[in-house]
């Protein structure tokens, strides 16, 4: 988001930019529970939502927050919650309900050091695999990562759009560094943003099948009270939403909710590349670490090393096609993470090109520095 003449630059924290992105995308309902380092999102929305006729509520815990945003979304209102590790554990139960009932909503997890209460004011990337697999049962999910204040705005808009388009909960992984860093950004105007709203049924109510397949694998979604009375359940259900134990119907349903994500791969998977055209060695990074990596790559280039960076914006579904190209192109990849290697597992899983994988893991609550990454780029 480069500045233009008539748009004013503003100094925003990552958490503030998430709020701006959510509101621009049409979010009008937020339920949450206080937790560091995500609380600013609640506090600001408690002021801004009612100004726009929206609703803020502080619930009794994160389980309740997740239930409330699903309820509000079913009633037709774009909804969001924001939390950190301990609360992210609690939302998992109803997150699964959101996946099986295909309810659009956005969950922000500002990651802090764990496990348990862990390091409340220090950054971490320890919840990456949990974001993918946290709720029980095989389920589809979309997970996006933010690395700067302007990302916080644009990725949040993207998260709402994907969530509405594919009828699926979307998780945004932020971290303490991104959340509390202030940067000067120019926010796009409403006209400059593309906002996608869920498709509503246009058939007569008696024809409406709330879970019927179509070309996209994403059924039209009626809001509660719109006259399309139907049933919503966390049980595996048939086209009409009624519980089923029929093996064929079960397969059809689960096949569709996973398939709708595969069908949308090109749309969902987002990476950013830097200096990759002629790269011989590269870094895969996401979140605040991607910024350290970019610095390291630039420093390496100064030293004559052909280094590049692949920054993951979409973490899940893992952008395997996009990453595969570079695994084949380069002799080695450095994967720095503020966890024990949660994304490097994904890269190892798809690496068929004999690209050497070097992990760099740091879990002491400190951001990985450019020097730490540069060391690998100069020695590997």
């Amino acid at each position: 988001m480069e500045s233009s003449e008539n748009q004013k630059k503003v100094l925003l924290q990552g958490n503030e930019a998430i709020v701006e992105g959510a509101l621009a995308a049409g979010c009008r309902f937020f339920a949450g529970y206080p937790i560091t380092p995500a609380s600013e999102i609640s506090e600001i929305l408690s002021v801004k939502l009612p100004e726009l006729g929206g609703t803020f509520i502080q619930m009794e815990d994160e389980i309740a927050s997740m239930g409330a945003i699903i309820g509000a979304s079913l009633a037709g209102v774009k909804s969001m919650t924001a939390t950190s590790g301990p609360g992210f554990s609690l939302i998992q139960e109803n997150l699964g309900y959101g996946c099986i009932t295909e309810v659009p909503c956005v969950i922000v997890n500002v990651m802090r050091g764990g496990p348990s209460t862990g390091l409340p004011t220090s950054p971490s990337q320890g919840d990456v695999q949990m974001a993918r697999w946290g709720t029980h049962g095989d389920h589809p999910i979309i997970v996006l990562a933010v690395s700067s204040v302007s990302d916080c705005f644009s990725v949040t808009v993207k998260a709402f759009n994907l969530s509405e388009k594919y009828r699926i909960p979307v998780i945004i992984l932020s971290d303490e560094v991104v959340a509390h860093t202030r940067e000067s950004v120019t926010l796009p105007t409403t006209e400059q943003i593309r906002v996608f709203d869920r498709v509503k049924p246009d058939v007569p109510p008696e024809w409406y099948k709330p879970y019927a397949d179509n070309n996209r694998g994403v059924p039209d979604m009626a809001a509660l009270g719109d006259g399309y009375r139907h049933h919503v359940t966390g049980l595996i259900h048939d086209d009409r939403g009624y519980p089923t134990q029929d093996a064929q119907e079960i397969e059809k349903f689960l096949g569709r909710i996973h398939g709708k994500i595969s069908k949308g791969f090109q749309d969902i998977m987002v990476i950013k590349t830097h200096l990759m055209e002629d790269a011989e060695i590269f870094v895969i990074a996401y979140g605040s670490v991607a910024r350290s990596a970019l610095r390291a790559v630039r420093d390496a280039r100064e030293l004559g090393i052909k280094a590049g960076l692949v920054q993951l914006v979409t973490l899940f579904p893992f952008p395997r096609k996009n990453v595969d190209i570079y695994l084949r192109q380069c002799r080695a990849v450095i994967i720095p993470e503020m966890n024990m290697g949660q994304m490097s597992r994904e890269v190892s899983r798809i690496n068929q090109a004999d690209c050497r994988i070097v992990k760099h893991n740091k879990i002491n609550g400190q951001l990985i520095t450019p020097d730490e990454i540069l060391k690998h780029l100069t020695t590997v």
Binding site: H180, R182, S184, L294, T369
Partner: protein, 197 residues
Amino acid sequence: MKSNERYEIRFSGSGGQGIITAAVVMADAVGSFDNKHVCQTQSYGPEARGGKSKAEVVISNAPIDYPKALSVDLLLAMNQAACDAYFSDIKSDGLLVVDGGLVQQLPTSRSVSIPFTQIAIEQIGRELVANMVALGAVGYLSGQVSLKGLEQALLSRVPKGTEKMNSEALQAGIEEAKKIDLDSLPRSVLSEWDDEF
């Protein structure tokens, strides 16, 4: 400044001294009013008062990659502990600025010592605005921000009713800094003996 160059300022002291507020105002001035790229970060403990407080502002004409300071161009130390803890991160041609009343042991002679807290008490009548006196000096000495922008940013961020007091504090800091002749300081924060070891 060349296109990819960074200028890094670290504000440091203890919780309750307004360290983060000073850094935020600096960042707002640079980013929103001077239209440069800026990145402001901080670290703090769980306590609201006391404890260590550190905030950084990275300024550049190009988008900023690594958001935190790599080697500091200007370190503001509002107490001795902060000065001791962070002095080693300064670039060789960087500058140390301290609250002269609170920092007695100076690790380098490439430093500027101004009694910010004392000025706040004596000229403004409130110890609370020592951070804004310091910000005025830092803004001037860094040469990285327009003084008008700094004042505008300050006015937009301080509580209603305190604008005049804070603005006067900022001016007092700028005036004190104007008296400093940076050219008279040694060129490096390193001791001259260093080469011999």
